[in-house]
């Protein structure tokens, strides 16, 4: 168990250090989601009242698209110099690698959300009418839902031709229930009309189910030959 965490932490620190030095994924994600926000502002020009109803959808669509940019980088980086093949033959548990990658992506995407959320508030003149603290669990659980499946499917799509294209094609259909829950929860908190409890519980269920499935099947995907 100790070796599991030491491998996880070693991979995680390596990824964070690489990202800190190059800032490839983070810069691309930030600029990409900034573009999405600006395009949304030009496409929809709502009143403050209307914007509460649509921003939940816009914000999560922007994060979903931006997350794909980062997720695509996850494994592509390991293909250079056959790092992934070295992992495959090493006795290290596959899940340690997976958990490290998920945690890394979770940190990057959360950072992106923390930086981009104020922009949405500014552009759409948002004022939360419901219990605002509930946005925190929705953001954390929603990000985890995107990232855990995204990392898993990125490992799958890296094995295919045209791998950058494959990730959204695999990830989006399976993510639909998570996206519905995130958007519905955010909207009901922003408008203060409904309770978001049902959707938060559903997101939690989604996270538990798919984290278990990913941990159970990642070894198969890594070793698939």
């Amino acid at each position: 168990m100790r070796s599991f965490w030491s491998i996880t932490m070693a991979t995680l620190t390596k990824d964070i250090r690489l990202e800190w030095r190059s800032k490839d994924a983070l810069n691309a994600m930030l600029f990409f989601s900034l573009l999405v926000v600006v395009i949304f502002v030009f496409s929809f020009d709502p009143l403050a009242e209307e914007s509460r109803h649509i921003v939940g959808g816009l914000i999560w669509v922007a994060f979903l698209f931006a997350a794909v940019v980062a997720l695509n980088q996850t494994w592509a980086r390991e293909l250079r110099n056959q790092v992934l093949d070295a992992y495959r033959v090493s006795p290290a548990p596959a899940n340690a690698l997976f958990v490290a990658k998920v945690l890394g992506n979770f940190i990057f995407v959360s950072l992106l959300e923390a930086l981009m959320a104020p922009l949405f508030v500014i552009f759409y003149n948002l004022r939360v009418l419901g219990p605002a603290w509930q946005l925190m669990p929705v953001a954390l659980l929603g990000t985890w839902a995107l990232v855990v499946n995204g990392t898993f499917f990125a490992a799958m799509s890296v094995r295919t031709r045209s791998r950058e294209l494959m990730l959204p094609l695999l990830l989006f259909p399976v993510s639909i229930p998570a996206v519905i829950s995130m958007v519905a929860a955010t909207t009901s908190i922003l408008t203060g009309e409904d309770s978001a409890h049902f959707y938060i519980v559903l997101l939690l269920t989604y996270d538990v189910v798919f984290t278990t499935a990913c941990l159970g099947l990642f070894d198969t995907v890594l070793q698939a030959e």
């Binding site: 499946n149 799958m156 094995r159 295919t160 031709r161 045209s162 494959m166 094609l169 695999l170 989006f172 259909p173 399976v174 639909i176 229930p177 998570a178 519905i180 829950s181 519905a184 049902f198 959707y199 559903l202 269920t205 989604y206 189910v209 798919f210 499935a213 099947l217 198969t220 995907v221 698939a224 030959e225």
Partner: protein
Amino acid sequence: MKKAFPILAALTALFLAYAFYEAMFVAPTDALQGDVYRIIYYHVPSAWTAFLLFFINFIASVQYLANAKPSTQRAAKWIVIAIGIAGAIAPFIPQVKQMLPPGMYPSSVATTALIIVGLYFLIGKFFPGQSLDVLAVTTAEVGVVFCTIVLVTGPIWARPVWGIWWAPGDIRLTSTLVLWLIYVSYLVLRRFSDSAQTQKLAAVLAVFGALDVPLVYFSIWFFRTQHPQPVIGGGGSMDPRMLNVLLISWMAFLCFAFLVCWARYRLEQLRREVEEAEALESLREPGAPSAQTSKAKVPLSRGPQ
């Protein structure tokens, strides 16, 4: 296959024609919807057939993944048996019985659980090794075709009856659409990955898709649903004559689906055999004289199996 296939094809065509006759002329006209409702004899049987095919795909994929190691194979077997026993006994326990929706009998739930377990072992018995994966491709492709029919006939029917083409908040519409999307992405994955890894990756994706469907169902549960309640076991108020025609139509669709699946299954098997033969051929030394004789071994011209 050579002999049986044309005979079965002719019988199926006759059966489909009979189902069409029953649907158009024999079944009574609906009191509220008029003749428009007759599309039900195509919409509902396609839906049931598609769901059945996707379910077979799921079972085949799970089994394909479980068969990778003897230990997981044994574990999967006992888990399935446990699910069967639990599913057969649980509906009769009073507390669980109360949770069943009205009109759904405990005995029918128990029978379904047993049928699922039976299906698991039948598929395992008749489709060993790689043919599980061939079965998975076949059912996914044919299932997508039937699911497309459902998604096309649904709006055609909804427009005159509900006044709208599509009800975005409806449970069954959205879950069917998501199911369709998942299986299209499954086929795209198979198309885009290299042959050595495709099978396992596709099986993993099928399992993810199956886990997704109940979550889709619950995520839309909150909205009021516009779709009519299930016809069978849902306490439906359908005329028995209509139900009769519906079941005939479903049987005809099942025969048709079976026929298409069979043809696709053979095609995929032959394609793989040709691929293997070609791979063997390319391994042969260039000077070896057997190039012509081994061509004849390529199993395209094989007799009935």
